[in-house]
């Protein structure tokens, strides 16, 4: 099937070249980082995880979000999604590739990565995270590829895929649960030390993932001969409406617990994020923007008229992606480190090389997604013509 990705117009190849260029720049910057060390990033003794891990966390969510089309199709026999499950699975693959690369670029000694398997350590959540992430990547590769090939050949997919498909559904939940457990099991980090962290991660994932899928579906309909379908997009939009509402609700639960109990360890982080602390508040405008974006997303997806109108739905998806990215990407990770365990405020701002390397990783993901989607759409065009 891969041959389908080698046929395309000049726009397709132009896009590929842009991505390869961005990857090249990111790779060059990574060479710099390998040479100098992580000192070229904005991270510090106090904020020891930054942009890489924040984007990693966000993309685990996007990967898990794909299950929102897989689950209704396979468990509830919601036939309409049969057309687009492959898009959800391939989005998960591209996201997971980015996740694994972001973890790699975050390591101080990446050449020692195999120590994680050489000395397996079940009491470390990171050990489990590598297992669930790699497992989910392989599940989606095997399922996505074989189901698509079966569709191309006009036959039902192989019977042995069925158990894998069923396993992949709770597995999607597990990747974001385990990723949340990386943070919420740590004593002394009040912002993360909350049982609602994993549910909150999942809610934001099920908003962000399907939002991105809707935008991709709209793009595919516009620029290819394959129509993912209006009904499919509308169903996804309802999922997004519920998920983004639940995400904001969970956030408000956190705010209530922190500010009604007035426990300083719990209030400190929210105060830093939304008001600034000790005169420092680099993230304050971002966090308020995030709340406004997510609120706008709720309004646009909950009101039937704006949800049904695909133009306003697209706007809703964009603001939800931005809002959840700031919330989880910028706020959640650095917010957990500020103030530090000594209640000192050290701020974190990513540096240009750090952003460049991250963009390089995003370009790898976009390249993987482009190739996979080109293949999927190619098969769909063949089958439906």
């Amino acid at each position: 099937m891969l041959e389908l990705a080698f046929k395309g117009n000049k726009w397709y190849w132009g896009w590929i070249i842009v991505l390869l260029g961005t990857i090249g720049i990111g790779f060059g910057l990574y060479q710099m980082q390998l040479n100098f060390g992580l000192g070229i990033t904005g991270m510090s003794r106090d904020v020891s995880w930054g942009f890489y891990i924040a984007n990693f966390t966000y993309l685990v969510g996007v990967a898990a979000g794909g299950v929102m089309v897989v689950l209704p199709y396979y468990l509830h026999d919601y036939k309409a999604y049969g057309k687009i499950t492959i898009l959800g699975e391939f989005l998960a693959i591209a996201s997971l590739v980015m996740c694994l690369l972001l973890v790699m670029v975050d390591l101080g000694q990446p050449m020692r990565i195999l120590n994680v398997w050489l000395y397996p350590t079940p009491h470390s959540v990171l050990f489990w995270d590598t297992i669930v992430l790699n497992g989910y990547l392989f599940l989606n590769l095997i399922i996505g590829w074989n189901v698509l090939e079966a569709e191309r050949n006009g036959v039902h997919y192989q019977g042995w895929l069925k158990p894998l498909i069923y396993i992949s559904i709770p597995w999607a939940v597990s990747i974001h649960t385990v990723t949340a457990y990386l943070y919420c099991g740590l004593p002394g980090r009040g912002f993360w030390l909350t049982a609602i962290l994993a549910p909150r991660f999942l809610a934001s994932a099920f908003a962000a993932g399907p939002s991105l899928l809707i935008l991709l579906c709209l793009f595919i309909r516009r620029f290819t001969n394959f129509d993912p379908g209006r009904q499919q997009i509308q169903s996804l939009a309802k999922t997004v409406a519920y998920a983004i509402s639940v995400n904001v609700f969970f956030f408000l639960c956190e705010v209530f617990v922190a500010f009604y109990s007035t426990i300083p360890e719990h209030m400190g982080h929210l105060q830093y994020l939304f008001q600034g602390l000790h005169g420092k508040g680099a993230l304050v405008p971002w966090m308020w923007a995030s709340l406004i974006f997510m609120a706008a997303g709720i309004v646009l997806t909950v009101i039937p008229a704006t949800r049904r109108n695909e133009a306003s739905l697209a706007v809703a998806c964009v603001v939800i992606i931005l809002g959840t990215w700031i919330d989880k990407g910028l706020g959640m990770i650095s917010g957990g480190f500020v103030p530090n365990p000594l209640h000192e405020v050290t701020e974190y701002v990513p540096t240009l090389p750090e952003i460049g390397i991250t963009l390089g990783v995003y370009a790898v993901g976009a390249l993987v997604l482009t190739i996979l989607y080109k293949m999927a759409v190619g098969v769909k065009e063949e089958v439906h013509s």
Partner: protein, 261 residues
Amino acid sequence: MKNSRRRFLQIAGVSALSLGAKPVLNAFAAEGAEGLGYRVTRGEKALSAKQWGMVIDTRKLKTAADIQPMIDACDKAHNIPTAIPDKKQEIKWIWDAPYHNVFTEKVNQFLNEQVENKPFLLLCNHCENPPCVRACPTQATFKRADGIVMMDFHRCIGCRFCMAACPFGARSFNFRDPRPFIKMENKDFPTRTKGVVEKCNFCAERLAVGKMPACVEASNGALAFGDLYDPHSKVRELLKENYTIRRKQNLGTEPSVYYIV
């Protein structure tokens, strides 16, 4: 013919398995184990304990000048790169901070003036129940039989999970090559490479040759060091006679560093 080939494969398989298992068996063998060309034994003068602990008598440490010699002794003994230009990315094993930063949950609104204004020593607490050890995905940080929470600088992959897990801010990461920033190199202790985490090791290398930790030696009696589980040890005597506090004991990590205030 077919049979003998199978037999051969079986034998080959078993031998390969036993070869592979040898290092594992060696690792299980206790002290005095002999491996391929090496022998591990305890030094004759080595000090031992069930859980090393420290008591800091802050009454004897009134000013920054009282504290500095201990910090200097540690920096010198452990090749701490003290000249790193970016303070946010510095390395510190033992340092000082005001009371309200050290005892964040014991900050009284109205506090003894002297306590409020003087610096307090900070170092790794060598917790009995260390969250950093739990978090490390490669066992590069581990708890020794004598309670010391140790780092293997050669196994650390630099994921910094331990730094997020430590509720005491005791860990530092080598954001760049530390060697150019070491003022005077101590050839008896390794320098580190970029990309690994490090922290106080309770001077495990000194205990192994019968010496007290460098900071304790430089403390003029303000720091006491000993086995927390030996009722006759110096630290236990002090704990019996004085009211002490520990940092964030509500978190259940069981710090082994006590403060007499």
